[in-house]
C-alpha cells in the first residue's frame, strides 16, 4: 500500500496508517484493523460470553491463535495423562477455552500440540508474528511481538470481545517515545538488564500514553530473543507497545517458520518489510538516550519494576513513602547491598526470559555446578518447541544434574495462577517481569533479574553478580 505522504514518518505511524479503517475525529476514536488476536484462557471467557449474549459470531477465526498457558500446571502429568490443576476452577477455565474455540472454529494449541506455550513465546516461534502487523491479546505483555516491527499491545476483555466480533478496535492515536540505545553491552549484561535500566531511566509510568520504538546500535546487535525481552517489559514503564524496526536479523528468524509467508510470497513480504522503519528526520514526541556502556547487570530492590539498580550498587536510602513501604515489604534496608542477600527460590521462566537463549545462558552458569543447599530452582521453558530444542542440546540434563526442577511450559511462577508460588517471606530471584507485592505468592519478595544473575544466585544461594561467574569460565 503506498504511503499517502512523503514526509518522514516513524515506524509506528506507518503501521498505524496501514490499519486505519475509519479516521479518528474530535468526537470519535479511530477504528483500527487488527491482523492477529492471540487468545488464552484467563482473559477470554467473558468476551465469548458477550458474543453469545448478543448473538454475534467470531468475524475472522483465521486471524485468531489460541493457547493455554496461565492456569495450566507445569508439573508432569500422571502416567495416564492426568494433569493436576491447582483448582477445579482452573481446569474449568481451560476447558471453557476449548469449548469456545471449537464452537467458533478457532485453532487452539492445547496439551496435545507441539506448539503450545506461553502465548508470547509461541506466536513468534510459529511465525504468526510478522513485521507490520497489528497484534492484540488480553495480556499486557503483548508488546513482546513488537520485536518484529509489529504494533502489538495488551487489551482488556471487553476489547477482546470487540476484536472477536469485528476484527477491529477503537483507539486514540498514542504518542511516540524513541529510546535510543547506543554502544556495546559489557560481558554479563543481557537484554533483561537493558530493559530494567530503561525502566529505571524512564520511570514506572514515564511511558504512559506512548508507543516506544527502541533503536540504535545496541538494539541492531541484538538477536530476536533479546529484542523480545526488550519489548516485553515496555508496559512496566507504562507504554502499551514497544517496537523494533525489522531488519535482516528479523527476516532470518522468520524464514521457514510455518505460519510465515512461503515461496514467492516470502520475497514480496521481505521487500515490503524493509520499508518498515522510521525515516531520517522523523520526530518522536519524546526521545530518551541510553549509553549501553553504562548498563550493568541489574536487579529490582522494591515492589515495582522501576525500583531497580545495578547489582553492585547500594539500595536507595530515601525517606519517601513509596520507598519506605517497598523496603519494609522486601525486608531490606536503604544504603545496604542487595548482593549477598539469601535466596530461597530461583525462577527461570516467563514470556520475558524463557526462550532457548535464556535457558542456554542459565545452563552456562549451572554446568558442572550445583544449586545451593536450601535454595529451590525452577526452570520452566516458554513453550513445547523451546523445551524440545533445549532437551536436544542437553540443557535439561544440566539443570536436573544441578538439582533444579525442569518443568512443563507455562507462565508458572511469573503470575502464580497455577499454584507455582513461593512461601510467605521467601525471596525469589526471578527472570519474570513483575515484582509487585504478592505476585509470586502471599508475602513473597521478588527480585527481578536476568537468567545469568538468577543462575548465579542459585549456585551461591545468595543474590549474586553474574560477572563473578564469567571470570570463572574455564
Amino acid at each position: 500500500m503506498p504511503e499517502p505522504t512523503t514526509l518522514p514518518t516513524t515506524l509506528f505511524e506507518k503501521i498505524w496508517r496501514r490499519h486505519v479503517v475509519r479516521e479518528e475525529t474530535a468526537d470519535t476514536p479511530a477504528i483500527l484493523y487488527i491482523d492477529l488476536q492471540l487468545l488464552h484462557e484467563v482473559t477470554t471467557p467473558q468476551a465469548f460470553d458477550e458474543l453469545k449474549r448478543r448473538g454475534l459470531k467470531v468475524r475472522r477465526p483465521d486471524r485468531c491463535l489460541a493457547t493455554i498457558d496461565h492456569s495450566t500446571p507445569t508439573s508432569a502429568p500422571d502416567a495416564d495423562g492426568t494433569r493436576h490443576y491447582v483448582t477445579e476452577q482452573a481446569k474449568a477455565q481451560v476447558e471453557m477455552l476449548h469449548r469456545n474455540c471449537a464452537e467458533h472454529g478457532i485453532v487452539l494449541h492445547g496439551w496435545d500440540s507441539p506448539n503450545r506455550g506461553i502465548v508470547h513465546v509461541m506466536g513468534p516461534e510459529m511465525g504468526a508474528t510478522q513485521p507490520g502487523m497489528t497484534i492484540v491479546c488480553g495480556d499486557s505483555h503483548t508488546a513482546t511481538h513488537g520485536a518484529f516491527g509489529a504494533l502489538a499491545f495488551g487489551i482488556g476483555t471487553t476489547e477482546v470481545g470487540h476484536v472477536l466480533a469485528t476484527q477491529c478496535l477503537l483507539q486514540r492515536k498514542p504518542n511516540t517515545l524513541g529510546i535510543h540505545i547506543e554502544g556495546n553491552l559489557a560481558p554479563g549484561v543481557t537484554a533483561k538488564d537493558v530493559i530494567l535500566h530503561v525502566i529505571g531511566a524512564v520511570g514506572v509510568d514515564g511511558g504512559t500514553g506512548s508507543v516506544i520504538e527502541y533503536f540504535g546500535s545496541t538494539v541492531r546487535a541484538m538477536d530476536m530473543e533479546m529484542r523480545m525481552t526488550l519489548c516485553n517489559m515496555s508496559i512496566e514503564c507504562g507504554a502499551r507497545a514497544g517496537m523494533v524496526a525489522p531488519d535482516q536479523t528479523t527476516f532470518n528468524y522468520l524464514d521457514g517458520r510455518p505460519q510465515g509467508p512461503q515461496g514467492a510470497d516470502w520475497s514480496r513480504a521481505v521487500a515490503d518489510w524493509k520499508t518498515l522503519k522510521t525515516d531520517d528526520g522523523a520526530r518522536f514526541d519524546r526521545l530518551v538516550e541510553i549509553d549501553a556502556a553504562g548498563i550493568r547487570p541489574s536487579v529490582t530492590w522494591g515492589t515495582n519494576p522501576g525500583m531497580m539498580m545495578a547489582i553492585d550498587a547500594r539500595i536507595p536510602d530515601r525517606a519517601d513513602a513509596s520507598t519506605r513501604d517497598a523496603l519494609e515489604y522486601m525486608q531490606l534496608h536503604g544504603g545496604a547491598r542487595l548482593a549477598g542477600e539469601p535466596v530461597n527460590v530461583v525462577f527461570i521462566g516467563s514470556c520475558t526470559n524463557a526462550r532457548l537463549g535464556d535457558l542456554r545462558a542459565a545452563a552456562s552458569v549451572l554446568k558442572d555446578r550445583r544449586v545451593a543447599a536450601g535454595t529451590r530452582m525452577l526452570v520452566v521453558p516458554g513453550s513445547e518447541a523451546t523445551r524440545k530444542a533445549a532437551e536436544a542440546e542437553g540443557l535439561d540434563r544440566i539443570f536436573t544434574a544441578a538439582g533444579a526442577e525442569w518443568r512443563e511450559p507455562g507462565c508458572s511462577m511469573c503470575i502464580g495462577m497455577n499454584g507455582d508460588v513461593a512461601r510467605p517471606g521467601d525471596l525469589v530471584v526471578s527472570t519474570s517481569n513483575r515484582n509487585f507485592k504478592g505476585r509470586q505468592g502471599r508475602g513473597v519478595r521478588t527480585v527481578l533479574a536476568s537468567p545469568l544473575t538468577a543462575a548465579a544466585s542459585a549456585v551461591t544461594g545468595r543474590v549474586t553478580d553474574p560477572r563473578e561467574f564469567l571470570e570463572q569460565q574455564p
Binding site: 477455565q93 488480553g138 471487553t158 498514542p174 509510568d205
Partner: protein
C-alpha cells in the same frame, strides 16, 4: 443487561455525588486490586470480595488489623482517591469489575495507567484524572463530598472549588447514554468489509 451489578453500571451515568475514600499509595497495580489467584473465574460478577484481598486479609484468610479499607463505607463512599499511576501492571479487566462490585463508581488520581483507564471506561467506572495538587489535597483531606459531572467532565469538591478532568468525548457520549462501544464498530461494518477487500 440487568442480571448483574457490573452490567447495571453500564447503564447511563450523569452525575455522581458521593463522599471520598482515600488510599494514599502511589503505583497501585492491578495485582493489588485483584490478585491473580482469583483470575480463574469465568464470570465478571461477584469479584468485590477479592478486591484488595491481600490488603484486607492475612495469609490464613482472617481479617487484617491493618486493613486500610476497614473504614470504607460502601453506602456513602463510592469515590476512591488514590496515589499516582493507579491501575498499572496487568491488563486484567477483573480490576474494574472488582472495584465496581466492591462499591466504587469512580477513582480520582493524578495519573492512570492506559489499559486500566480503557477498561474502567468500558464498565462505567470513571477515571477522574486531576492535577497533582488537587489529588494531594484530597489525599490530605479524607471523606470529602464530591460531585462528578460526566457530561461537563468536572469534579466539584464541596466548598473547595470545581476542577476539569480530561474525558474522551466518545467515552463521555457512551457513558451518558449507556451506549456500548461495540455497537459503534458494528455500525461501521461496511467500512471493515471494504478494508478487508483491499
Amino acid at each position: 443487561m440487568n442480571d448483574s451489578p457490573v452490567a447495571d453500571t453500564r447503564a447511563a451515568m450523569g452525575v455522581l455525588e458521593s463522599r471520598t475514600f482515600n488510599l494514599p499509595v502511589d503505583n497501585i497495580d492491578t495485582d493489588q486490586i485483584i490478585p491473580a489467584q482469583f483470575l480463574t473465574t469465568t464470570e465478571r460478577t461477584g469479584l468485590g470480595q477479592y478486591c484488595f484481598y491481600g490488603w484486607r486479609y492475612n495469609d490464613d484468610g482472617s481479617p487484617k488489623a491493618s486493613n486500610p479499607l476497614r473504614k470504607h463505607d460502601a453506602a456513602t463512599q463510592q469515590v476512591l482517591v488514590a496515589g499516582a499511576n493507579f491501575g498499572c501492571g496487568s491488563s486484567r479487566e477483573h480490576a474494574p469489575w472488582a472495584l465496581l462490585d466492591f462499591g466504587f463508581r469512580a477513582v480520582i488520581s493524578s495519573r492512570f495507567a492506559d489499559i486500566f483507564r480503557g477498561n474502567a471506561l468500558k464498565n462505567g467506572l470513571l477515571p477522574v484524572q486531576v492535577d497533582e495538587a488537587v489529588a494531594d489535597w484530597l489525599l490530605d483531606h479524607p471523606d470529602q463530598t464530591v460531585r462528578i459531572d460526566i457530561a461537563n467532565h468536572t469534579l466539584d469538591i464541596e466548598g473547595n472549588g470545581t476542577f476539569d478532568f480530561p474525558l474522551d468525548p466518545f467515552s463521555a457520549y457512551c457513558l451518558t447514554r449507556g451506549i456500548d462501544q461495540l455497537d459503534f464498530i458494528l455500525q461501521n461494518e461496511d467500512a471493515v468489509e471494504e478494508f478487508e477487500r483491499l
